[in-house]
Amino acid sequence: MWSKKELPSRASGQGQDSPMKDDAFVLRVEDIHKKFGTNEVLKGVSFNVRKGETIVFIGPSGTGKSTLLRCINQLTIPEKGRVWLHDDEVTNSGPKISYFRQKIGMVFQNFYLFDHLTAVRNVEIALLKVKKMDPESARRQALYELEQVGMKGWADHYPAELSGGQAQRVSIARALAMDPEVILFDEPTSALDPELTREVLEVMKKLAKSGMTMLVVSHEMGFAASVANQIIFMENGNIVEQGPPDALLYDPAYVRTRKFVGQFADLTQRKD
């Protein structure tokens, strides 16, 4: 259902249950350190991401999860540590960072749609200004992406005329339009009420099933339980524990993890 017919196919990743080779890392994050003033937010975080994987980051607020995402596409520059997309270093990449940011899409908690542009213009502006596409193809692709998130009928509406859930879906379309290999979701539903949260999570589930590689910072434990391949539990700037949902949510190795996921037990109840 996410296949592109006339358009070049994006991440041709396999479904989440197909076997994957160990060397197929799309993204490698190594020893990321970040301080704000004297406050050390990230204290050496490393992990690898396989193609088509959905990794959900959980943990108490203020433990550096969002900062970690921003360090990956260099919206925040880490003091130390490196990030690779395949074999290319994203950190210290100079002007080439523009290319990496196209390949590593980002979706924000507060959507950050461009307020002066309609939904379709929001999606096509980077196609025009960054990819230098001709206006006709850009419009065609923008409408295609909006269709994928169920927002084609709202193409000519301005952000202020959209609900939070609709705005977030447009922002997902905007990231998709750049044909990214990975998308970073920074608390994509934290600003939404439960009903709107559901419509955004539906789109994200569909996207994960289509084989998109996704890193998601979220407090939606139900989503983590049902969609994630890996869950990473972070606390105080460190990764405490990492593993598939079955292990991490239902049988965590560490007391701290157990305490944290215990609070959400009702949300992650196994439905079997």
Binding site: N73, L75, P95, S98, Y99, R101, Q102, G105, M106, F108, N110, Y112, L113, F114, D115, H116, I125, A126, K129, V130, Y158, P159, A160, E161, S171, R174, A175, M178
Partner: protein, 224 residues
């Protein structure tokens, strides 16, 4: 001679004054935007020494009475530079430089009022800072600046009358000349005042139409 025939006789002369007044305003507004906008961008995004230079500029031009600036440039700075410039030109330039100082602050405030998320989102899509400023930040901040900026037109229009002091033959200068020749005071000055009010009104209508034209639902001053 009655007032009506005096007015009729001098109308062409007054109209010449109107065109000079509008010329002063047009050039001054042009200089004001052409310098004020880049100055604002430098103040927000530029390196520290450049920011300091713009602050000093704004402080200087906003800190002196227009008349002082006018005399300073007309009798002082331009002659000292060996430039013998026509009064009209000096008047327009001084009003423009002064306008740029005020406008740089109007534009700066508008740029700074844009949520930082707009820039972050633009960067996250692979835009350079420059592209983000051109495609995202400026279209938004210009809309936000427009209501504040629209004050500049009546401001500069009314200030332009001070060019009387260096002998530019604009509306007030010509009005005074007519009074001196005809000894008719009140009706002539009232006529001058009326013309200023009409020019003001017409200009504000134009700005209002532009504001409506570029308005975006839920965005900027009309938002809510």
């Amino acid at each position: 001679m009655d007032v009506t025939s005096i007015l009729a006789e001098w109308t062409p002369y007054l109209i010449g004054g109107i065109s000079l007044t509008l010329g002063l305003v047009a050039i001054a507004l042009g200089i004001g935007v052409a310098l004020g906008l880049p100055f604002a961008l430098v103040q927000v995004y530029g390196p520290r020494p450049a920011k300091a230079a713009i602050s000093a500029y704004a402080w200087f031009f906003r800190g002196l009475p227009v008349l002082v600036l006018l005399f300073l440039f007309y009798f002082g700075i331009f002659p000292a530079m060996g430039l013998d410039l026509p009064a009209f030109f000096v008047g327009a330039v001084v009003l423009g430089l002064r306008g740029a100082a005020y406008q740089s602050q109007i534009f700066r405030g508008a740029i700074q009022s844009i949520n930082e998320g707009q820039m972050i989102a633009a960067l996250s899509l692979g835009m350079t800072r420059l592209t983000a400023i051109k495609s995202i930040i400026l279209p938004q901040s210009l809309r936000i600046a427009l209501p504040g900026w629209s004050n500049e037109y009546p401001e500069i229009l009314t200030d332009s009358a001070i060019c009387y002091a260096i002998g530019v033959a604009e509306l007030l200068t010509r009005t005074s000349q007519i009074v001196a020749v005809t000894y008719v005071t009140m009706p002539i000055y009232l006529c001058c005042a009326l013309i200023f009010i009409l020019l003001n009104y017409a200009g504000m209508r134009v700005i209002h139409v532009v504001e409506k034209r570029v308005a975006i639902p839920g965005f900027g001053a009309g938002a809510g």
